[in-house]
């Protein structure tokens, strides 16, 4: 088995439909619609929206494929690096623990998708999350995946949990709360390993934080995730703080989302 497994070769059955980022951005219906959001206008995800349930189903499918890629990414970190020379054993053990968590998240999200009335393959899969976990530097990989992407997962799960609460769906709310607890743990792992592995290497720390920004920017979805009242995915300060983000770092992500939104509407 090779080290570093390319994103385009991720193994999938026939139900999965892969969509590249270019395809999504060049979709004549607009990137947002192509991503499964059936409206051109941004609005907070609530059951009262005419397209609220459809958007929630699309988001749940997105969570499911995201969880598969997160499982694959954490698994590859167990395999791709040598213990001692490249990473400590404890880091790999954290990644193995994350594999188990992500496997449970796959089980939860595929069950919830069915519960919400959608099925595997109804929406396309984008491989961007796994691509971020192909970085050959373990510090950059962990920062991009565990801080940027798992950070986004905190925002997404909290939004879905609130949606479940508003919709009077205790199953959805219950499951999202459990997954949210795991995500805070994963982001904290990323924050802790970033600090430990770059303790005496400012240059590597800066590179890792820059990579995190690139990933965060990619996943800002034209301002899709932010702190404004009509942001579909709400940036979650409280849980990000628990996971080791500073106020300044959270402010920076909020600003990034605001800029992305302004650019998209300009």
């Amino acid at each position: 088995m090779r080290k570093i497994f390319p994103a385009e070769e991720l193994a999938r059955d026939s139900r999965f439909i892969r969509q590249t980022n270019e395809q999504r951005l060049n979709d004549p219906r607009g990137a947002r619609v192509a991503g499964g959001n059936t409206s051109e206008n941004l609005a907070k995800l609530t059951p009262e929206l005419p397209n609220g349930p459809d958007r929630a189903r699309a988001l749940m499918h997105g969570i499911f494929v995201g969880e598969i890629q997160a499982l694959e990414g954490a698994g590859r970190t167990c395999w791709d690096f040598e213990i001692g020379d490249e990473v400590p054993l404890a880091l790999k053990m954290d990644m193995a623990r994350q594999c188990w968590d992500e496997a449970r998240h796959c089980e939860i999200s595929i069950s919830l998708a069915e519960h919400m009335g959608t099925e595997l393959g109804e929406y396309a899969e984008n491989g961007l999350l796994y691509e971020a976990s192909c970085n050959p530097d373990p510090v950059l990989r962990l920062t991009g995946v565990n801080r940027a992407l798992e950070g986004l997962a905190i925002d997404v799960f909290n939004t879905m949990k609130e949606f479940g609460n508003m919709a009077g769906d205790p199953v959805l709310e219950f499951c999202e709360d459990w997954m949210l607890a795991d995500e805070v743990t994963h982001v904290k792992m990323g924050s802790d390993w970033l600090r430990r592995l770059t303790q005496n290497d400012k240059e590597r720390l800066d590179k890792a934080l820059e990579f995190q920004k690139v990933v965060d920017r990619l996943f800002s979805f034209n301002g899709f995730r932010g702190e404004d009242d009509d942001s579909p995915i709400q940036l979650t300060r409280r849980f990000r703080e628990l996971a080791g983000f500073t106020d300044d770092e959270i402010d920076e992500i909020a600003d990034m989302s605001r800029d992305a939104r302004a650019e998209a509407t300009a």
Partner: protein, 218 residues
């Protein structure tokens, strides 16, 4: 009223644990180091394979099992300093070059159509050998002096049995033709031969020696 001065035996009548064991401290540490090495190699492989497996149920199950073996490695890692090995990496080694060869052969399959080979290597060869070696150790070591290792092995064996059963069921569900039976057997035979040369996961003597030495009389 209870007579608190009435003497009792130090061991209750039902407690039949015995003091002697097959392994001294050094031998126990050597074996535990090999077990840890194998558990690390296994969890790394299971994690790496997840991305290469198209079958969704297998993909998710391997993600779960990956953690089980990482946890086993952690348990063995924590036991080593208690066996006087403070530099745990020193004993985290394969028993011989055949075991290295075994892991290389087991982790060789990568292509998406080779799920049967991946599962056979783990669930029909490696895990049964682990269960055998851990059971031998668990049953042979001193039930009093080495109880911490027995406790660890009991937890681990519970996982191994469950994972073996799930893995075997996945293999049975994947095999749908005589050709696939053949594929599974060919791969199992290839790996078993290497394991035979290795002498088991802890080297020769992994499960003891069942034969009696007969002295020829003239």
């Amino acid at each position: 009223m209870t007579d608190i001065k009435r003497p009792r035996e130090p061991f209750a009548p039902w407690d039949r644990r015995s003091l002697p064991g097959l392994f001294d401290v050094d031998e126990t540490a050597r074996r535990v180091g090999h077990y840890k090495w194998v558990e690390i190699k296994l969890f790394e492989a299971l994690g790496g394979w997840v991305a290469t497996i198209p079958e969704l149920d297998v993909k998710m199950r391997l993600g779960t099992h990956c953690y089980h073996h990482a946890w086993h490695a952690d348990l063995f890692d924590k036991r080593l300093p208690e066996l006087r090995e403070m530099k745990t990496e020193r004993l985290t080694v394969p028993p011989n070059e055949h075991m290295v060869e075994f892991i290389e052969a087991m982790t060789e399959p990568e292509a998406g159509h080779m799920t049967i080979e991946k599962l056979v290597g783990v669930y029909r060869v490696l895990i049964p050998h682990k269960i055998a070696a851990y059971t031998y150790h668990r049953n042979g070591t001193s039930e009093i002096t080495d109880m911490p290792t027995i406790r660890i092995l009991d937890f681990i064996l519970q996982d191994e049995f469950n994972d073996w059963r799930e893995g075997e069921m996945l293999i049975q569900s994947m095999i749908e033709s005589p050709e696939e039976v053949e594929r599974a057997m060919v791969h199992q035979t290839k790996l078993e031969k290497i394991m035979l040369a290795a002498g088991g996961i802890a080297g020769p003597g992994s499960i003891g020696d069942p034969y009696v030495e007969v002295v020829e009389q003239n």
